[in-house]
């Protein structure tokens, strides 16, 4: 008993350790509306001043749980109050992944973005597998997308809720660009 005590003396549970994101809005009335919508859905959010490096929007912002950004953006868009922008609530140095790993398996093509992979059967353009990721919307997204044609599958951003879902969206956009050139 107490095997963690030495370590926990230095770090008792602190909710602030959860990575936070910032939503930037055009004006304060939108902030107030968005706050009400998100609180009514049970999200752990608060109204804050925007970080110093943010150069747009009004003088209020909403701090959100970063991992859940995708679901939050979807709800606000559905309710007519999408933010101007969103970002991690750090010093502005963190950027979303922008590198893709592409692997050709002959009859199949795989694209990886960050921790998410999507694979398509090249001749039928059917999504055959989704792998990687760790947030609980990943198995859900896999269940909804696998077996569907790339041209008919729902966009991950419409169904997902987390940053893993967002990474899958990036991989999905890239594989569409490669397989369905416009």
């Amino acid at each position: 008993m107490g095997f963690l005590k030495g370590l926990f003396k230095k770090k008792a549970p602190r909710p602030s350790q959860q990575p936070r994101g910032i939503l930037i809005f055009e004006n304060t009335s939108e902030v107030i509306r968005a706050e009400g919508i998100l609180k009514s859905r049970g999200y752990d959010i608060k109204v804050v001043g925007p970080p110093a490096h943010v150069r747009k929007g009004c003088d209020l912002a909403i701090e959100i749980p970063l991992v859940e950004a995708m679901g939050i953006l979807h709800i606000l868009k559905e309710n007519g109050y999408p933010p101007l922008d969103w970002m991690p609530a750090d010093d502005g140095l963190l950027k979303p992944v922008d590198l893709f790993h592409i692997k050709d398996f002959g009859g199949y093509l795989m694209v990886r973005a960050a921790n998410m992979k999507i694979t398509v059967h090249k001749s039928s353009l059917t999504i055959v597998n989704i792998s990687g990721g760790g947030c609980p919307d990943v198995p859900y997204l896999a269940a909804m997308l696998v077996g569907k044609k790339l041209s008919e599958a729902p966009r991950p951003i419409e169904l997902g809720h987390t940053l893993c879902g967002y990474a899958l969206q990036l991989a999905y956009d890239k594989i569409k660009e490669l397989c369905l050139p416009s």
């Binding site: 963690l4 370590l7 350790q17 590198l99 921790n115 990687g132 760790g134 609980p136």
Partner: protein, 282 residues
Amino acid sequence: MLAILGTVPEENFPLLCGKASIREDFLIVNNQKVPIQRGTPALVASAIKILEVLNRQPPFLYLIGDIGRGSGSRQLYSFFTQDIKKREFSTITFHYLMPDADWCNRILLAIDELKKRPFLIADAGFMYAAKMSGNAPLFDLFTPDLGELAFLADEQAPHPFYTRGFLLQEENKVEELIKRAYEHSNASRYLLIKGRSDYVVKEGRILSVISEPMIEALEPIGGTGDTITGIVSALIDSGFDVEKACYIASKINRLAGKLSNPDPSTQISHIIKFLPPAFEQI
């Protein structure tokens, strides 16, 4: 006994807690049927298959529906912090759960009150939470893939989505990523790194690298990481030395993949059927 915590991709799936078994292509927990698909059900099914070969009791499962909103995961966390007080597990594996640093802290505090420390394994979302909360060194084993290893190696990234590009060019620098993850205290005591080659690591030192059999088609198949975590959980809980368990788990997973004769469209439920013969061949 092995305990496994995770989720299924159904929003209204109730919280289940009890011993799990397999009937045809379904997991059975408290008379509820769960399809064996990628994610926690694949991990649980793999653990059951290995425990059956070893003639050991099935795992104890904490399972709830969560499609990414996080409410299911948090309900499960809350339940577990109370329920664990009346249980005795030798191994606990945390899997597809909403990464929540605060709940990770609370769960570790609940475990800290137990008479005997279980062996703690984290994969997927709970591994992210362990890193986010600064608690990675309190875990005994993480099972990251290469993208997740880059996330562990990036001391600034709060989630793999923000892993910096220079770390994602990782194909030829696994050793550097391992070193960096340990330097910043973002790794567990042991790592089983899943990839083209699998790496078994203890406190920053590579113990073994497993590359055979090499089945290229396994990489895109969703769930091959879940199965290896299920296998290693079952082996460790059955008393295998950790290094040996990681090595054998990697071999079983690769061999089952080979026996299943996969292509990139193969589904994980097909590969799981080959785990017992793969284990018996090793």
